[in-house]
């Protein structure tokens, strides 16, 4: 018995039709994965199901009856809960206050104790140690995600729609999330799960719907579609090797770091990056990978010795790092990488404005730089005067890469190169990274995606609790070895 379904639904924004006759049925006790490249129409489907958008044609069916939700909260009252990719939490309120936001317990006086206890019970079920009294602002990003999930659980959902819930979670938290999904499935909840991680789709989903350009191109049951098959269906063409072939790094050291310490975050890290090398850095979220990178480029106070091509350099600010030929691409594209409410040109040249005119900014030169970047990094923008925030995630990432490459750095540190972007763009980014290495530049790639760090790197350093836990290269570069180092497990015990 289908709970919630789309019947021949189309959606049009102005002249552009983004969904064409989509059928989708969510069954109780089933995890239904929705996959597709960015722009395929996944978010539009989620918004229609969650009551945030109306279809232009076709119907939404709840228990077989056509329904029309006037708003998200109205859909929620019917037991349809959406966990958005962007968090929907009030940062200054406590965890418990957020979980009960809009349906607080107590008549006149808020029943704080009841809300706290109920929240604590929910969080315990999720196997986390988050304090119900903590302010959201003080929580890490993965913890906030767990609070979002707890909030959804507390709403007694019949239908749960999840948009990339695992993107920001650590290994252990992903385990807890899967356990909760299994539990909800057993309780008869219908779950729609959107993800870019095909391994997790293969693991979780009972049913898979593949979307391409606003059409359903494939529906399959568990086991009918391999990861390769999913990727092929999404892209619409055969994928050859997903990762570009590795190169031949030179012997000359490009960057030597001795005893780098970022107080409270990174302790005594030494590493050598060779010319033309792609050096991976793996480790759990919170192991100090990002802090190491930010310490290196002067975004955090750090001590230690840094040599670039044999010459010692002092880096106290990002400016110094640029001068030494270093560049850093942040993991936080939306909050630290791009000005989402500014144009493409302003974003591209922001870090290198002194190259575009001494007094008066040379807009023509900036436009020329944008043209070059658009070609070189294949940035697909419908209009060149559009805002950066209106680009798809993949194109934002390409724009950010172009911005970071504008000072022509010799050493590039890329933090999470493909977070939240689609398969097609991922492959492009991998190819760019390899191309940069082939040009004789040296790269450090920080990634939480095991397959990515292995597929892309010539060598992988693993961090744990602010220190280097070890290095793997060649045949030893396996997921198993990296996880062992990251978790601090030694010996051959499986």
């Amino acid at each position: 018995m289908t709970v919630l379904a789309l019947d021949n639904v189309s959606k049009r924004f102005g002249p552009i039709e983004v969904l064409h006759g989509v059928d989708l049925a969510l069954e109780p006790g089933e995890v239904h994965a929705l996959i597709g490249e960015n722009g395929a129409g996944k978010s539009t489907i989620m918004k229609i199901l969650g009551g945030f958008l109306d279809p232009t044609a076709g119907q939404v069916l709840l228990d077989g009856q056509p329904v029309h939700f006037a708003s998200g909260p109205q859909a929620e009252a019917q037991g349809i809960v959406v966990i958005h990719q962007e968090f929907n939490l009030a940062p200054d309120l406590s965890v418990a206050a957020n979980v009960f936001l809009g349906r607080e317990a107590g008549a006149w006086r808020l029943d704080h104790a009841a809300m706290r206890d109920a929240t604590a019970a929910l969080l315990k079920r999720l196997d986390t140690s988050i304090d119900p009294d903590a302010r959201i602002r003080d929580l890490s990003v993965p913890d906030r995600q767990m609070v979002e999930i707890a909030k959804a659980l507390s709403r007694q959902a019949r239908v749960l729609i999840m948009d990339e819930p695992s993107a920001v979670l650590t290994h252990r938290e992903v385990g807890a999330l899967y356990a909760q999904i299994d539990r909800l499935r057993a309780e008869g909840v219908a779950i729609l799960y959107c993800s870019h991680r095909l391994d997790e789709v293969a693991h979780l989903a009972d049913r898979i719907t593949v979307l391409r350009d606003g059409r359903v191109v494939r529906q399959a049951l568990r086991g009918e579609l391999t990861e390769d098959g999913m990727a092929t269906a999404m892209v619409g063409r055969e994928l050859q090797d997903f990762y570009p072939p590795k190169g031949q790094p030179g012997d000359a050291p490009a960057l030597e770091v001795r005893g780098l310490t970022v107080p409270g975050r990174v302790r005594d890290v030494s590493l050598t990056l060779r010319r033309g090398e792609v050096l991976g850095i793996a480790g759990l979220v919170g192991s100090g990978r990002t802090e190491l990178a930010e310490g290196l480029v002067g975004l955090r106070p750090a001590t230690g010795e840094i040599r670039v091509e044999g010459r010692p350099v002092a880096i106290r600010s990002l400016r110094d790092a640029f001068a030494a030929g270093l560049a850093y691409l942040t993991e936080d594209r939306k909050e630290a990488g791009l000005l989402l409410d500014k144009g493409l040109r302003e974003n591209l040249t922001l870090a290198t404005l002194e190259r575009f005119g001494a007094w008066r900014l040379d807009t023509a030169a900036e436009d020329a730089a944008l043209d070059r970047a658009t070609r070189e990094f294949d940035i697909r923008a419908p209009r060149r005067d559009m805002l950066a925030g209106k680009l798809s995630g993949g194109n934002q990432q390409k724009l950010l890469l172009a911005k970071v490459m504008l000072p022509d750095p010799r050493i590039i540190i890329i933090d999470e190169p493909t977070r939240g972007i689609d398969v097609g763009t991922k492959r492009q980014i991998y190819a760019f990274i390899r191309k940069l290495a082939a040009e004789g530049r040296s790269l450090i790639v920080i990634s939480s995606e095991m397959t990515e760090v292995i597929g892309l790197s010539d060598r992988v350093l693993v961090m744990r609790e602010g220190r280097l836990a070890g290095e793997v290269a060649g045949q030893a570069m396996t997921e198993d070895n990296i996880v062992r180092l990251a978790m601090g497990v030694t010996g051959d015990v499986a």
Partner: protein, 322 residues
């Protein structure tokens, strides 16, 4: 070139006001009246141009009215004190001008340093310095009025009342600063950095912009412009007291907002600010010339205009989004 009604709104309102003013009273378009309106706009105008940069960078300065009173006070005291030694000449007046501008730099630096180096909210910092400057000038005047020496006042007068033809010096200075400000916001690295910081200061920091230095500079720039406004204001009345420049900060902020600069920062329009200043002074002028509405209702009408301006400029939501 795309025509953007959000951007042109204030300009349309200004043109409408001019037409209304001309229709209500024939004296409105007389050169003397226009000179008067523009010259009076110059004080708030200079300050509002500086305020545009502060607000665009995500800051706020409530202290400018009190700062103007304080700077006028110390400039008058300095000139009166130098009079016996230096005599009644332009040297003494230049000294007073120097005191006003240097004092403006120091006061702006104080505000900026408290915001950036001590990391205190701009609202709190400038609420504090607003009280301090106001209290200092009242204390210096001993609760009364600080008056410039009569001879010096006569010598200094043409700086406000004189000019080239009917275009007086305040109008010339205001036009020049407005032009430079607009140019700096649109075409200079500084302006781009100011907008970037107001839009998202973390992105700015990760783009190798010295965020604190740029923020500090916006407050110093505003201080300089307050000093310049004082240089033009002192010859008008030749005095300063505890009630000089009261509510100037709110008028300046209102002009910035009417002009289309976002109060949360990130988008600055200096020419819009100029239009905003002119709208506010024209309303005042028209009410004084026409008998239609009591001039006592000036504040109410300005209030309506401010709210209306923000409502009209609000980003249009996507019709589909709920």
């Amino acid at each position: 070139m795309k025509i953007d009604l959000h951007t042109l709104g204030p300009l349309v309102a200004l043109v409408a006001l001019v037409i209304l003013g001309a229709a209500l009273n024939s004296a409105f378009l007389a050169p003397a009246n226009i000179t008067n309106v523009l010259a009076r706009s110059a004080f708030i105008g200079l300050i509002a141009v500086g305020m545009t940069f502060v607000i665009t960078a995500g800051g706020l300065d409530l202290s400018v009215g009190s700062m103007a009173a304080f700077l006028a006070g110390i400039a008058i005291i300095a000139m009166n004190a130098a009079l016996p030694g230096m005599g009644s000449n332009w040297g003494t007046i230049l000294l007073g001008m120097g005191v006003a501008v240097l004092g403006g730099i120091a006061a702006g630096y104080l505000n900026g340093a408290l915001v950036t180096k001590a990391g205190i909210e701009p609202f709190i910092v400038t609420l504090g310095t607003m009280g301090i400057f106001r209290s200092l000038v009242t204390w210096l005047a001993d609760g009364g009025t600080l008056s410039l020496d009569y001879g010096l006042r006569t010598l200094y007068r043409p700086v406000y009342y004189g000019g080239i033809g009917w275009i007086t010096w305040p109008i010339i200075v205001f036009a020049l600063i407005a032009f430079l400000g607009e140019w700096a916001m649109r075409h200079s690295r500084f302006g781009r950095h100011v907008e970037a910081i107001g839009s998202n200061d973390r992105v700015a920091r990760y783009s190798a912009i010295d965020v604190n230095r740029v923020r500090l500079l916006t407050y110093v720039l505003l201080g300089v412009l307050v000093g310049l406004a004082v240089v033009l204001y002192v010859p008008r009345l030749g005095s300063a007291s505890g009630s000089t420049g009261v509510l100037w900060e709110l008028e300046a902020i209102a002009a910035v907002i009417i002009g289309g600069t976002a109060l949360k920062g990130g988008r600055g329009r200096v020419w819009g600010t100029v239009v905003g200043v002119l709208i506010l002074s024209l309303i005042d002028n028209i009410l004084n010339l026409a008998d239609l509405v009591s001039p006592y209702l000036n504040g109410a009408i300005q209030g309506v205009i401010i709210v209306l301006a923000v409502v009209l400029q609000r980003e249009k939501r996507t019709a589909d989004e709920r």
